[in-house]
Amino acid sequence: MSAPVYISGTGVITAIGNDTATNLDALRSGSAGMGPIRWLETRHQGQLPVAEVKSSNEMLAEKAGLPAHFSRTSLLSTIAAKEALQNAGIPDLEKWRTGFLSANTVGGMDKTENFYPAFLQNPAAGRLREVVHHECGAATEITADALGIQHYVTTISTACSSSANSIFFAARMIRQGLLDIAVAGGVDALTRFTLNGFNTLMILDSQFCQPFDENRRGLNLGEGAGYVVLVSEKVAATLANKPEVQLSGWCNANDAYHQTASSPDGTGSYLAMQGALKKSGLKPCDIDYINLHGTGTQNNDVAEGTAISKLFAEAYPPMSSTKSFTGHTLGASGGIEAVFSVLSIQQGLIYPNLRWETQMKELPFAPVTTLQEKKVEHVLSNSFGFGGNCSSLIFSRIN
């Protein structure tokens, strides 16, 4: 058995709250974050619901302690990562080797798309400060600099599974003795680029999404950031608040079926979940809760559901998609749902899959529809995406 990696802090900002406590309140009370578009400037305002963080860039900038002209991605990232590090309460942070491992899919696209109209007219036009943070790595560095993290920084982008991958890369680095502490997860802000991209794929729901429902119509895009603080056993020993949760398993597999669509039998999803179970040494029946990828699209939910029905046929654990609260936050979803998975174990909660009405005909199980309070030992969290990228994480109570 290799060295364990503990979770010592969480930070999250989504449409249902600006920090861990308010997200937890909304998960408990069943309050979804979708609504009409308010902050994103787009012609789809009034037509498509989204799950926006309920703050203007100016409000976020003040909270993050950064200039308001920085990309929304970097503002969201900094707010959640700061919370995670504060929540971890690590004394003498500077004496450890700390890394910031983030993930996103849009980078500073929210600013680039403001720059582009002038630039297309004249390549010498447009303010350069609008594109200087375009790259995915820029948001990561803004946050790392704000946090004073210098030992290691990186960014992953594998579409909707991005931040699950950053979390277990961080865990491996700690186990291999390359880092003592890692703030890991991801972020994405809503942009016209992604909203229109998903709209052309015709997988956006014009109503509030209904994951794992027979009559599901698609997904609602969301935005936010979610980070966990991973620490080595040595760091954990110095903490006043002993960590309760560890990252016990992970796997990244590829569906290798189609650039955007999942295979009907969910090959990639199956391999990711099976691999994570193998890594953790757990059996399917040990899992107390599955935090589904559950986007609400026809394709994802049937593929993910089919894979689950193959792997968990003996006894289906309770499961739900918290995207019914936060919308699909793309590169942030793995990080946000990692925070929710940790909270599930800490608080003994299984969250409801909101708005579920009708059983899917292909599946022999249904998601949980009301909040359940019970002891939770092991949570499986799924994140699947374009490019066939499928990743699963397992969080476990430390006994």
């Binding site: 899919t105 582009y116 790595g137 579409a159 680029f193 052309t200 590829n254 490019g387």
Partner: protein, 339 residues
């Protein structure tokens, strides 16, 4: 970690061409010499692939072929800018048609993981698949992940690559930041330090092994990165520590390969290596871009394997230090040995 094979689509035709006549470029940029893609990819697929996907896939397929490996245990890519042509196409249309009449094709192929995803699709490879997008650390992060996976016994082989492309829009933008000289001459780039460098691009892929095979090109002893080092001596001391960890001294290094790019400001940082050790550089062949170290590693691997150095007569290096920094922010050092 061992490098079993290394293949590149770059502004140079081949490693051999660096001896018989390296390709030179005038102006602001170097461009890839693209192969006949039909020898690597099904022609039906080629039509739908953008240039960066073709370059990445061709280099990946070539490196697997050279290694005699059908399925790697992991596919890990690094790209700072991602699929620029498709991003530009979708964004331009979005602006031009005011969010109407858009088609999904460019959006689908604009995601940063498209190259790694397409390679998986081509190989029908269901194993680990990841893409790092961190500026001048994109490629080093991919290598580091392969190393941690080998350390965890999750894999024994990995296909790892670095890829970035220049498109007209990205070049029009980057030149406004004052990065490039107006009348560059690539083969003289490093010899005539001035303000600005020349832009480059390329794809370089490697098959990595946890264990040596009979035909390994080189052993990759260590890779280390430094983000925004507070002072020049941070990197110098870091490299000293790296050598010490490997139980060697500076005198054991036969050749230093640097990322000198001709920009006078950037290049002063390489002067810390003014030791009595032969030095060569690689950006006169590939230009400056965030994943240029992938080309540097390709060059270094072949130097160690073939025991000859472009531009340096008679040197047969057994141990090489490859050091690069990208815009003085992202520093990386690699230590390699001949097998």
């Amino acid at each position: 970690m061992y490098i079993r094979s290394a293949a590149a689509v770059s502004p140079q035709a081949s490693f051999e061409a660096l001896f018989t006549g390296a390709a030179g470029y005038q102006g602001e940029q170097l461009s890839c010499i693209e192969p006949d893609y039909t020898s690597y990819i099904d022609p039906k697929l080629i039509r739908r692939m953008s240039r960066i996907i073709k370059m990445g896939t061709a280099a990946a397929v070539e490196s697997l072929k050279a290694a005699g490996l059908e399925q790697p245990d992991a596919i890990i890519t690094g790209t700072a800018y991602g699929c620029l042509a498709d991003t530009d196409a979708f964004l331009s249309r979005l602006v031009e048609f005011k969010e109407e009449l858009l088609s999904p094709t460019a959006f689908i192929q604009s995601t940063h993981n498209t190259v790694a995803g397409q390679i998986a699709l081509l190989l029908k490879c269901h194993r680990h698949n990841n893409t790092f997008v961190h500026k001048g650390f994109s490629f080093e992060s991919a290598l580091l992940e392969a190393r941690t996976m080998m350390g965890e016994n999750e894999i024994t082989t990995a296909l790892v690559g670095g890829v970035d492309e220049i498109i007209p829009a990205s070049h029009a933008l980057l030149r406004r930041f004052g990065l490039y000289r107006a009348n560059g001459n690539s083969l003289r780039l490093v010899d005539e330090p001035a303000k600005g460098t020349m832009a480059g691009e390329g794809a370089a892929f490697f098959v990595l092994d946890a264990q040596p095979s009979g035909d390994s090109l080189a052993r990759l002893d260590a890779v280390q990165t430094w983000y925004k080092p507070a002072a020049a001596n941070v990197v110098a001391e870091g490299i000293n520590a790296l050598l010490a960890e490997q139980g060697i001294e500076w005198k054991d290094i036969d050749l230093i390969v640097t990322g000198r790019n001709g920009d006078a400001g950037d290049d002063t940082l390489y002067d810390l290596f003014k030791k009595d050790i032969p030095e060569t550089s690689f950006k006169q062949y590939c230009g400056e871009y965030p994943t240029a170290t992938a080309f540097g590693l390709w060059l270094t691997s072949h130097i160690l394997h073939q025991q000859r150095v472009p531009g340096v007569e008679g040197l047969k290096p057994r141990r090489i230090l490859l050091y690069n920094h990208y815009q003085q922010t992202h520093h990386a050092a690699y230590l390699l040995s001949a097998c």
